[in-house]
């Protein structure tokens, strides 16, 4: 605080509180909708205060499913999302950390060519190459499988770049010392590099988990089997049915469940999240 201006401080608080309320309003409405039964949710004006059907709706959503996706319990969808998000996050970290290791610590022919090849992936988001990528995945027989959901999204230039930056800041003396002690490359990687980049790995994991969980277009294209639906795309199937027979109490319960894990991750690991966000953008 530069100077004491009670009025200005008061106004700042008011603006921030209004901001927080505006940002949180959609979530409040969602939560309220998830606590009422279908009868109440079919008459305007809709309630603004919570009702008493929260656990009923929760059980029905988790075990039975909603709308066009009925028969596919949301619990299953969440499991699919979890598997996909973990495979994407862990897979990305694993392949980028070893390729960054190779690029920083070895001198070998085509090193720069590989580096540029990885760099190019930055310029090819899945949205701009959906049809041919779909063709490749179909030809490999990976439709409707966890592999098809995750592997094509696993290559990542940003993660490789981040690890490269981290490795470049690790002093050369460590490598010299390790070599004098007779450690081979893999030993050095396991005992020195991995422990030293632990926080970066965790920060990256937070970002990638959210990225993976929130995938929409890709699962939409390659899953036709309801048992492979992820929750984010499952909500779309529920919305389609909502135009005729709105089951808003269940749809909003599913939305709540769909955003719960990533939101908890962001709030619970705020420090890592902010770090991951600023590091991957460098």
């Amino acid at each position: 605080m530069v100077e004491n201006r009670p009025l200005a401080t008061f106004i700042s608080h008011v603006v921030l509180i209004v901001g927080v309320l505006v940002v949180a309003f959609p979530i409040w409405v969602t939560f309220v909708a998830a606590t009422h039964d279908q009868v109440r949710m079919a008459q305007a004006p809709l309630p603004l205060l919570p009702g008493t059907h929260f656990f009923e709706n929760l059980m029905e959503t988790l075990t039975l499913g909603v709308g066009n996706a009925r028969g596919q319990p949301v619990g299953m969808m969440m499991l699919n999302s979890l598997v996909m998000a973990l495979m994407i996050a862990i897979g990305k970290i694993a392949i980028s950390i070893i390729s960054a290791f190779a690029i920083v610590y070895f001198r070998f022919p085509f090193r720069m060519a590989f580096f540029w090849l990885i760099f190019i992936t930055l310029m090819l988001p899945v949205e701009v190459r959906i049809i041919p990528t779909y063709g490749v995945v179909a030809n490999l027989g990976m439709l409707d499988s966890y592999w098809g959901l995750s592997i094509p999204l696993i290559a990542s230039a940003t993660a490789t770049f981040m690890f490269r930056q981290v490795f470049l800041t690790i002093p050369d003396e460590l490598l010299e010392a390790a070599r004098i002690d007779g450690a081979g490359p893999m030993r050095f990687f396991k005992d020195i590099l991995l422990p030293m980049s632990r926080t970066n790995i965790a920060a990256l994991f937070v970002i990638l988990f959210i990225y993976g969980w929130n995938q929409y277009l890709w699962p939409l294209l390659i899953t036709t089997d309801k048992s492979m639906y992820t929750i984010v795309m499952g909500i779309k199937a529920m919305l389609e049915a909502a135009e005729e027979a709105p089951e808003w109490h269940l749809i909003m319960m599913s939305s709540l469940l769909a955003m719960l894990p990533p939101v908890l991750v962001v709030i619970g690991m705020q420090r890592l999240f902010v770090r991951g966000l600023t590091e991957t953008e460098k």
Partner: protein, 293 residues
């Protein structure tokens, strides 16, 4: 780029880069080159024969009023999303920067929409603005507004812009706040001693000093509005009514997967790739400048 000391040559580095290179080749380079190649072909309606036509698909696109319309719509959409999300975030960050003690609490309360998937964000806003039941639609009707985004294209556009901006505020807020907190306090104090009030200090010191952050966020927000909002559009309006919310990414998907116009869709993909490349280059040039600075 490379360490001064390194390991002796062996096959090991090749094995280490292999997984990433293989995935990149199979799922990135090969499909992208397919898209490039496809964009030069015309396929007949039944897929029996294809003809190499050079740039005819591109010429057709740029003559096609519906494609040019999608281009203009995308520009309008992304500029407006960037403007709303950034100005809201800038206001909030400027306020939070003044109150250091509570800034962390406000940050926690403001950052979580980042974690909400675009399609889910779309579902929330769709629910609030549902023409028959939505709470906000009800209020609008109370004030005499004929609200039905399923019929009115402008209202549909307003709805997706709102949903897209809402989701992006938290990201911008984080970066603006970090940028402001990195400004040395002595500068602000000096200005205060010279008699500059909070508003004056903001516009003459803070705002110019965070301009690199602002520019960086502008690029990021435009990229976000171009590509990541697909989920919102697909879940809320499906590009409708009457293509009023059909942005470029949605059109690629729609023409390719629903309309099965492979050549045209591939040509659109190639144009989108060119846009991403330009935006990425701008972003990288800027980042290099910031490092030197």
């Amino acid at each position: 780029m490379l360490k001064r000391v390194h390991f002796p040559p062996s096959v090991l580095p090749y094995l280490l880069v292999a997984p990433q290179i293989i995935i990149t080749l199979v799922f990135f380079i090969w499909p992208a080159s397919q898209a490039l190649y496809q964009s030069l072909l015309v396929e007949d309606a039944f897929g029996f024969s294809t003809k190499f036509v050079w740039f005819e698909n591109f010429e057709a696109l740029f003559r096609d009023e519906s494609y040019l319309g999608a281009f203009r719509r995308t520009a309008f959409f992304s500029l407006l999303v960037a403007f709303i999300a950034m100005s809201a975030a800038l206001t909030l960050a400027a306020m939070a920067d003044r109150i250091i003690r509570a800034a962390r609490i406000y940050r926690t309360l403001l950052i979580w929409p980042y974690a909400v998937a675009p399609a889910v964000a779309g579902a929330l806003w769709l629910f609030m603005f549902d023409p028959t039941l939505g709470i906000l639609a009800y209020m609008l009707k109370f004030f005499g507004v004929e609200w039905n985004f399923r019929v009115n294209g402008n209202q549909a556009m307003a709805l997706v812009i709102l949903a897209a901006s809402w989701k992006q505020i938290s990201y911008n807020f984080l970066f603006f706040l970090a940028g402001m907190q990195a400004i040395p306090k002595s500068l602000i104090e000096a200005a205060a001693i010279d008699g500059a009030g909070p508003a004056r200090r903001f516009w003459t010191i803070i705002f110019p000093l965070i301009s690199p952050t602002t520019f960086f966020l502008l690029v990021i927000n435009i990229v976000y509005a171009f590509f990541d909002t697909f989920g919102i559009i697909h879940a809320v309006t499906k590009g409708g009514p009457a293509k009023a919310t059909e942005i470029l990414v949605y059109k690629v998907f729609n023409d390719g997967f629903i309309g099965l116009d492979l050549g045209g869709s591939a040509a659109q993909s190639v144009i989108l790739m060119a846009i991403v490349i330009v935006l990425t280059v701008i972003q990288f040039r800027y980042i290099e400048r910031r490092v030197a600075y």
